[in-house]
């Protein structure tokens, strides 16, 4: 039951591409995609996700949306706090590094989001159409909360950076592309967007698969840094998503999402950002060690969520809804 879900997920094109690319890289096989394709693909994915969510919102009633929206905000506050406390107490990690890592777990991974959607498709599990909207909300709040923690502990000196970092996130490409997609999707609506469906809907799984090849090579390089990070952090990089995933599943079922939507919200809560968060943290907390937060989010949590986490959160969602 759970095992079959794991297999289904593992044998889906995107996850399989990720694993194969990671293996190839670890045996020194050159499977790197050409320079620049990575940026093009992530641009496409973010914009396409936005469009999808926008089309959904165009048809959704406010009544269906406001509860999940609140749930997302709450998760945006909770998940970084959970991560921070765990890192401080159990991980014995310093204030700055803990806040830096927490920012990554407070934010979300858009790619993990797309993989869970693809997974639920193969499981023929319907999902609410407006979930991409929650993605945008979560991506921002989580980072801000975690940076706020850091600021307080740093007595808010170096104000400038703090402000810049927020701007970095809110005006950053990932958020702006996502919001632009949402806006266009809402305004145009599904009917008018049919001509662009072949690109933004039809090619989505394929381009996601190509992207996962790149992710596999990158993650494989990160895994080598795991030693430097220490077993404590590695353990937490598995434990935190599971806990946050469960909190997310709870929130999803309470705010009336179906099994599909609950699985997605759980996955979002469990996922760790490795694009928006690192950029913001690098600016706001320059003394935090990227060797820790990148390894945790990209080297451990991302692969874990992609391969094991998603089916796990799916099982949680089924149990709770």
């Amino acid at each position: 039951m759970f095992s079959t879900a794991v297999v289904d997920n593992l044998l889906s094109a995107p996850v399989l591409a990720f694993v194969v690319a990671a293996l190839a890289t670890s045996v020194k096989g050159d499977i790197k995609l050409p320079q620049g394709l990575y940026a093009v693909l992530s641009t496409y994915l973010l914009f396409a996700i936005g469009l999808k969510g926008g089309k959904g919102l165009a048809e959704a009633e406010l009544g269906d949306v406001w509860q999940p929206l609140i749930a997302a905000v709450v998760l945006g506050l909770l998940t970084p706090l959970i991560a921070y406390v765990a890192l401080r107490r159990l991980g014995r990690i310093g204030v700055i590094d803990s806040a830096a890592i927490a920012a990554h777990y407070g934010s979300v991974s858009a790619v993990t989001f797309t993989v869970v959607l693809a997974f639920l498709d193969t499981e023929a599990e319907p999902t609410e159409p407006f979930l991409a909207g929650l993605l945008a909300v979560l991506e921002i709040i989580g980072i801000i909360v975690a940076l706020a923690i850091a600021q307080r502990s740093l007595r808010g000196d170096d104000e400038s950076n703090w402000g810049d970092a927020i701007a970095e996130v809110v005006r950053g490409r990932s958020i702006v592309l996502l919001l632009a997609g949402l806006l266009i999707g809402v305004l145009a609506g599904p009917k008018r967007l049919e001509p662009v469906d072949p690109l933004f809907v039809g090619l989505f799984p394929g381009l996601l698969t190509l992207f996962m090849i790149d992710m596999g090579t990158v993650a494989a390089q990160r895994i080598r840094d795991v030693r430097e990070a220490g077993w404590r952090l590695v353990a937490l990089a598995v434990a935190i998503p599971v806990v946050n995933g469960f909190v997310g599943a709870l929130a999803g079922s309470l705010c009336g999402l179906g099994v599909g939507g609950t699985t997605v919200l759980a996955t979002l809560a469990a996922s760790a950002s490795y694009i928006a968060a690192p950029a913001a943290v690098r600016i706001a907390l320059p003394t935090a060690r990227p060797g820790l937060y990148i390894t945790a989010s990209l080297g451990v949590t991302f692969p874990f969520n992609i391969v094991v986490g998603i089916p796990l959160y799916y099982a949680m969602a089924k149990g709770l809804t």
Binding site: A39, Q221, I275, P278, R282, P286
Partner: protein, 100 residues
């Protein structure tokens, strides 16, 4: 023809610093700059990877004292926490006024 000496300051830094480095050198007196991108690795151990994109390679031709200021500023502000390399060299330009 008569050429005049100026300083060419080259800065290689992680791309997240791009915007602020441009603002900084402008504020410190640079009249212009050119930016290319490079991958690389150094003592920091971290290589440039996809997830963070390549490094920026900033070139700016300036008067000696401006070069001084830029290098000082970089040392104080960035060298400790960021992957930044900077160096200055003497170049001959045909139109010095452009860089003053």
């Amino acid at each position: 023809m008569t050429t005049t000496e100026r300083q060419l300051v080259t800065i290689i830094a992680e791309s997240v610093l791009k915007k602020r480095l441009i603002d900084d050198i402008r504020r410190l007196g640079a009249t212009g700059y050119s930016i290319g991108s490079v991958e690389g690795s150094g003592t920091g151990g971290r290589h440039t990877g996809d997830w963070e994109g390549p490094h920026v390679r900033i070139e700016t031709i300036v008067r000696d004292e401006v070069a001084e200021r830029i290098l000082e500023h970089l040392v104080e502000r960035y060298f400790t926490n960021y992957a930044v390399v900077a160096f200055a060299s003497t170049v001959r330009v045909a139109r010095p006024a452009k860089f003053d």
